[in-house]
């Protein structure tokens, strides 16, 4: 055997051994359920049924499950990011894309651009929901990401035009619901600290401007921000965007701080997690944080299947169907409603119509991520 052939054989042996080792380990190890790096739940092993196999669902889910739970996945993630840094994100004016995330100087930005199909599906679901509950006043407030407010123009293009997409969403909504233009309200205050630089979420100041847009849309007067007791949390915050980008120095050396606006003292809150939904007392702003906790959990102690806020306000009941962006809005909304219910479709696995049958609700605020994930639309139809 010549040397050249020997090297080829050794390379083939290494690759073959790696394939077998990964296969064996991934067959017999315990599957991880959460990715800290990506800040998301990993896909579970799908159950095989004839129906799911024939429909193609099983094979798709199995592929996702296998990719999600592959041994050393975090290592592969880091390797991929390092290579992309040079081959896909070679910066020319200081900005670079890391997957669908964007880094410019010391600010990381998320970008939510929904597909047109997702917009139509969402608008249809909202319309069907409003038609099924004609006695409810329904408002929709999609939460945009920070890219379109802060990315340099050089990086903007028709394909990542979040403002245009926001208008498309509002236009697609049926006339029976109220579209809330939070985009314009945030844009008007883009020079303030309305988005975290290391995280996807808006700050509580940003949430306040979204709240003012909601008030304007439904015809109520917003409370001034100065009415709320203010404090700064004693923590440095390096959020989920930084983590997903493998902690670039520009971000770790310039962490965020968290400004807190507290609810009135008379406001009380409770939350329950699926499936028991047993209510326990909840701190709306500035709850206890342990080492390693995600600091956006300072608002409503994170996300819960169901939460309820009671206040001394004269208003009725507001149901908020939401993602985590809605959490810092709660002190502001409590000024206008005596009872606010927060339902999170990612954790609440019951039927929305059954829930509404058991509750007296006056208004509904639908607050999805601007990506308009299909899960949200499905929940509205449940």
């Amino acid at each position: 055997m010549g040397k050249a052939h020997l090297f080829d054989s050794i390379a083939a042996g290494i690759i073959g051994a790696a394939l077998l080792a990964f296969t064996a380990v991934s067959l017999f190890d315990t599957d991880k359920t959460v990715s800290i790096t990506e800040n998301r739940e990993l896909a579970p092993r799908p159950c095989w049924t004839l129906d799911t196999w024939l429909s193609g669902r099983f094979t798709l889910d199995y592929e996702t499950y296998l990719s999600d739970t592959l041994p050393l996945r975090d290592g592969f993630f880091a390797l991929s990011n390092s290579v992309n840094r040079y081959f896909k994100e070679l910066g020319v004016t200081g900005g670079r894309w890391i997957g669908s995330r964007f880094l410019y100087r010391d600010m990381a930005m998320g970008l939510y651009i929904p597909e047109s199909e997702a917009i139509f599906a969402f608008a249809d679901a909202v319309g069907a929901f409003a038609d099924a509950h004609p006695d409810l006043r329904v408002a929709v407030l999609p939460a945009p990401a920070s890219f379109s407010f802060y990315a340099p123009d050089a990086y903007k293009s028709p394909e990542n035009d979040a403002e245009g997409k926001y208008r498309e969403i509002l236009q697609a909504l049926p006339s029976s619901v109220t579209g809330v233009d939070a985009y314009s309200a945030l844009e008007a205050h883009r020079d303030e600290y309305i988005y975290f630089r290391t995280d996807y979420h808006w700050t509580q100041t940003g949430a306040y401007y979204a709240y003012t847009a909601f008030c304007k849309a439904v015809g109520i007067s917003p409370a001034p921000l100065s009415d709320f007791r203010r404090a700064v949390a004693p923590y440095e915050f390096v959020g989920a965007l930084a983590r997903e980008m493998q902690y670039p120095e520009e971000l770790t050396e310039n962490p965020d701080y968290i400004e807190l606006f507290y609810p009135d003292d008379t406001v009380t809150a409770s939350a329950g997690d699926w499936p028991e939904l047993i209510p326990r007392e909840l701190c709306l702003v500035g709850g206890e944080i342990s080492d390693g906790d995600y600091l956006f959990s300072l608002f409503m102690e994170g996300d819960h299947a169901l939460a309820q806020i009671n206040s001394q306000s004269d208003g009725g009941t507001l149901l908020v169907i939401k993602i985590s962006h809605a959490n810092p809005l709660s002190p502001f909304l409590a000024r206008h409603y005596s009872r606010i219910i927060y339902l999170d479709p990612r954790y609440y696995k019951g039927s929305l119509s059954e829930f509404l049958n058991s509750q007296a609700v006056d208004d509904v605020l639908i607050l999805p991520k601007m990506l308009l994930d299909s899960g949200f639309s499905e929940f509205l139809l449940s």
Partner: protein, 457 residues
Amino acid sequence: MTFASAAFLFRFLPLCLVAYYLTPAIRLKNLVLIAASLIFYAWGEPVWVALLLFSTAVDYTCSRLMTGREGRRRRACLALSVVVNLGLLAFFKYSAFFVGNLNSLLGVSLRAPQFALPIGISFYTFQTMSATLDVYYKRVNAPRSPLDFLCFVSLFPQLVAGPVVRYSDIAHELRDRTPDIPGGTRRFVVGLGKKVLLANTVGALADVYLKHPETVTVFGAWTGAACFAFQLYFDFSGYSDMAIGLGLLFGFHFKENFNYPYAGRSVTDFWRRWHMSLTTFFRDYLYIPLGGNRAGTPKTVRNLLIVWLLTGLWHGASWNFVLWGLYLFLVLALERFFLRKILDRIPALFGRIYMLLAMLVGWTLFYFTETRAAFLTLGVMFGAGGRALARFSDFPRIASHALFFAAAVIGLFPWAKKIPNTRTVSLLRALALAALFALSVAAMVTETFNPFIYFRF
């Protein structure tokens, strides 16, 4: 199941290879391959396995019945195979297109059949038909064992996206073959890298520029078309490399499907190097039987037109593919009758630039299944509509991929073949192969954009 997926790499392939290598005799090995291939196909297409088996049974029977027969009976067997296979294609691939056009043309509302295109039907119907055709032309003996024939048709490396392997190419290897594990691994890993590192990256860029013909600039349209050309090449040649590599792992030698097409000096030269298994199929089984270029200019033109319209239609049941075929016919006819002499005389570089521009126009037709969007983009490329030449936001994405494009361009030309095969080079090549595999797996499990374009044909 695609080759660039975790299910294939970390479940199907290792288990299949272990079962295959542990099985002692060639006939038993063939049975392992048949079982594995049917599982591979049924993974994504549980129902259409029956169609694959039907096509196999028809061509096995037709080719067997031809043995020892001549004249009308022999021709009848051939006709049965051709009618059944083209009938399957017509029904499953083209009926909705045909009915849709009939409805528009006559103002009627006939109901088109509603089902998804069975994966790989364009490839395996051609492969089974090639066996009957080769037996008819006495290029190969009819298969004796139905299991061997099923092994050939269902062979998973080439089942769903080619290359179009002919029975005569591998008939002898169904009984006697030796695997080439180092060669097969190298070829497979190179193909995997082309697919997940190059094709997926540049494909995402192509979509960014071409998805919005209403707003794209002149520079954006050309850049998008160029990115799509890159994507198609790396996607399909990467798939062919993987197929050839997998074939070698089991001892089969499939013919090459690509020969650096962008090194061609004309569109004619390009097509001698692109998807060679399909172009030679059309040449041998359609163009030459029609008379090829031996019956005068008018018939040559007619034959070219038929071949290229059918080549276009083979790629998909929509008008853009028909127009694409027609466009290629025009360009190739122009080269054959007028441009060839000029292209032979000018420096190769100018020929390549002309070929590239002509192909980019063709790939733009190929990209858009909606012809209105295709013509809108083509119009923008040639200055219609008063679009901006470029906007500043067109550039950062391309600039940020500068090193990537440098690597991709290297992959377009056969420079690597010119490096002498010394010990150091071999060692570096082996190390690069292992690194390429790790990078490909990393990209595969972390990136979400992973289409296989030729799966839809």
